[in-house]
């Protein structure tokens, strides 16, 4: 968890260029689940699908709401686990 105010310009979501301050402002505004933050800001929608930002966002939500991270609602985990080229998938479909 990052608590120092000096770190507020730190990029939390590298895919979508979202800073810690932006995440904190969204939580203050009332977006209090990972999914709500994701939908309004695209945080976690990029190529890494939240691998970098998810834990940081959850830490911030936990800190603000006073809940334990284990109590927070998660986004659904879905395939593909890693980005995969459409052409490769199409070849697989052709058999």
């Amino acid at each position: 968890m990052i608590s120092n105010k000096d770190h507020e310009n730190t990029i939390v979501c590298r895919c979508e260029d979202i800073t810690l301050k932006e995440i904190r402002d969204l939580i203050k505004e009332g977006f209090k689940t990972v999914d709500e933050i994701k939908r309004i800001s695209r945080c976690g929608m990029g190529p890494c699908q939240g691998r970098t930002c998810r834990q940081i966002v959850m830490g911030e939500i936990a800190r603000t709401t006073g809940k334990d991270v284990s109590e927070l609602r998660l986004s659904t985990f879905r395939a593909p686990t890693k980005n995969i080229k459409i052409g490769i998938l199409a070849e697989a479909a052709e058999g």
Binding site: R42, N83, G87, A90, A92
Partner: protein, 380 residues
């Protein structure tokens, strides 16, 4: 949460949110909206983000045109700080059989008569709009420039914030568990967070509208069914319009990602938001045929949402006979988001007993019993 409300809206998707805003705008500020999850977490937030006016039923054309005109000014209209990301790159409809060409020619005629400037174009003209299109098997296309993309999260959020500013109470993570009816009048909505006394309830619960109807003892001819979708990594602008056919729908969002889906005729009835690997492979195969340039772009995510189908693929709007004060806006058959801005205007007017801007008489639930089905031909 309030203990009573002049109107209680069930569902925090686009239909519920835009109705809440419009009720407040028309002076009815004692409105309580209930959503069992977070706002726009159901079909609205899971949709393909497309907006089009190219329909085959007059009423759908009118609703869609009205909705699109609202979206064109929505940032200003709702004083929204963010941006709804409207991109009017058009919808390019690929027609592959003579029957389709004949039907869509008729649709274009209807659309033109209603002031929608769609046109039937040749494959050569289509290639000027989408140079990467594989023309094989395409006989002709229809195109309408004002169709396109808009961000469902931002549109819904804009309505939610505007509604709240006007006094609407929005309760998320609040599930409706029962509706009390006395002498054929709505009297109370029961939730897991408490009870609300009211005489007017709007059922805008999307895939759950059938379930909500049953709470008030009303059977609705609705069939929810899963539709799957995927998104790619963002890339440079390659595609202006939504490319759509009976095989697929594919658009590039303003931020660069492609989103695409297709309808599976074998999808069973039921509320289901799980994803399948089979969809991803089949989708990839289909899109590589139509837009081969996409084969080198990577899929980052897939998800799913529910269409709520009616027997004629046209929505049901209005009051329900038999239960005074029970209003209904659902069964959009896959087009609830794009029609949403207009749904809100019409339902608010209807609930307040005003004459609606566009007549919704033919969209009433009674049409199924009367055998007066609408049959929207431009939905798959």
């Amino acid at each position: 949460m309030k203990k009573s409300g002049e109107v209680v809206i069930i569902g925090g998707g686009i239909s519920g949110l835009s109705t809440a805003y419009n009720l407040a705008r028309l002076g009815c500020k004692d409105v309580v909206l209930l959503e069992k999850e977070s706002l726009y977490s159901g079909a609205t937030g899971r949709c393909g983000a497309g907006v089009r006016q190219q329909f085959g039923l007059e009423i759908n054309c009118r609703l869609a045109k009205g909705a699109c005109e609202i979206l064109e000014n929505l940032n200003e209209l709702l004083d929204y700080e963010r941006d709804i990301e409207l991109k009017q790159g058009g919808y390019l409809w690929l027609l592959t059989t003579d029957e389709e060409v004949k039907l869509y020619k008729k649709n274009v005629q209807l659309q033109n008569n209603l002031g929608i400037e769609s046109r039937l174009i040749t494959v050569e003209e289509a290639l000027e709009i989408v140079p990467y299109l594989n023309p094989e098997g395409i006989k002709a296309c229809t195109f309408h420039q004002k169709d396109g993309h808009v961000n469902p999260f931002q549109v819904s959020q804009a309505y939610a914030e505007a509604a709240k500013r006007l006094g609407v109470e929005i309760n998320t993570f609040t599930e409706v568990t029962d509706i009390k009816v006395k002498n054929n009048h709505i009297v109370e909505v029961i939730t897991d967070k408490g009870k609300i006394a009211t005489n007017k309830v709007l059922n805008a619960a999307g895939a759950f509208a059938k379930h909500i109807g049953e709470m008030a003892g009303v059977k609705l001819p609705l069939k929810p069914e899963r539709h799957q979708i995927l998104a790619t990594e963002p890339v440079e602008p390659l595609l202006g319009p939504m490319v759509i056919s009976t095989d697929l729908a594919c658009l590039q969002e303003p931020q660069g990602s492609f989103i695409m889906s297709y309808s599976d005729p074998d999808e069973p009835e039921g509320v289901n938001i799980s994803s399948s690997w089979r969809f991803m492979e089949e989708m990839a195969k289909r899109v590589c045929t139509v837009l081969p340039i996409l084969s080198n772009i990577k899929v980052v995510r897939q998800w799913a949402g529910n269409y709520t189908m009616t027997p004629d693929a046209a929505p049901i709007l209005g009051s329900l006979p038999g239960v005074e004060g029970f209003y209904f806006a659902a069964g959009f058959s896959g087009h609830g988001f794009m029609l949403g801005p207009m749904t809100g205007v019409l339902m608010a007017e209807h609930i307040l007993g005003k004459e609606t801007t566009i007549s919704i008489d033919k969209l009433d639930i009674g049409r199924f019993e009367r055998g007066e089905l609408m049959r929207e031909p431009a939905v798959s």
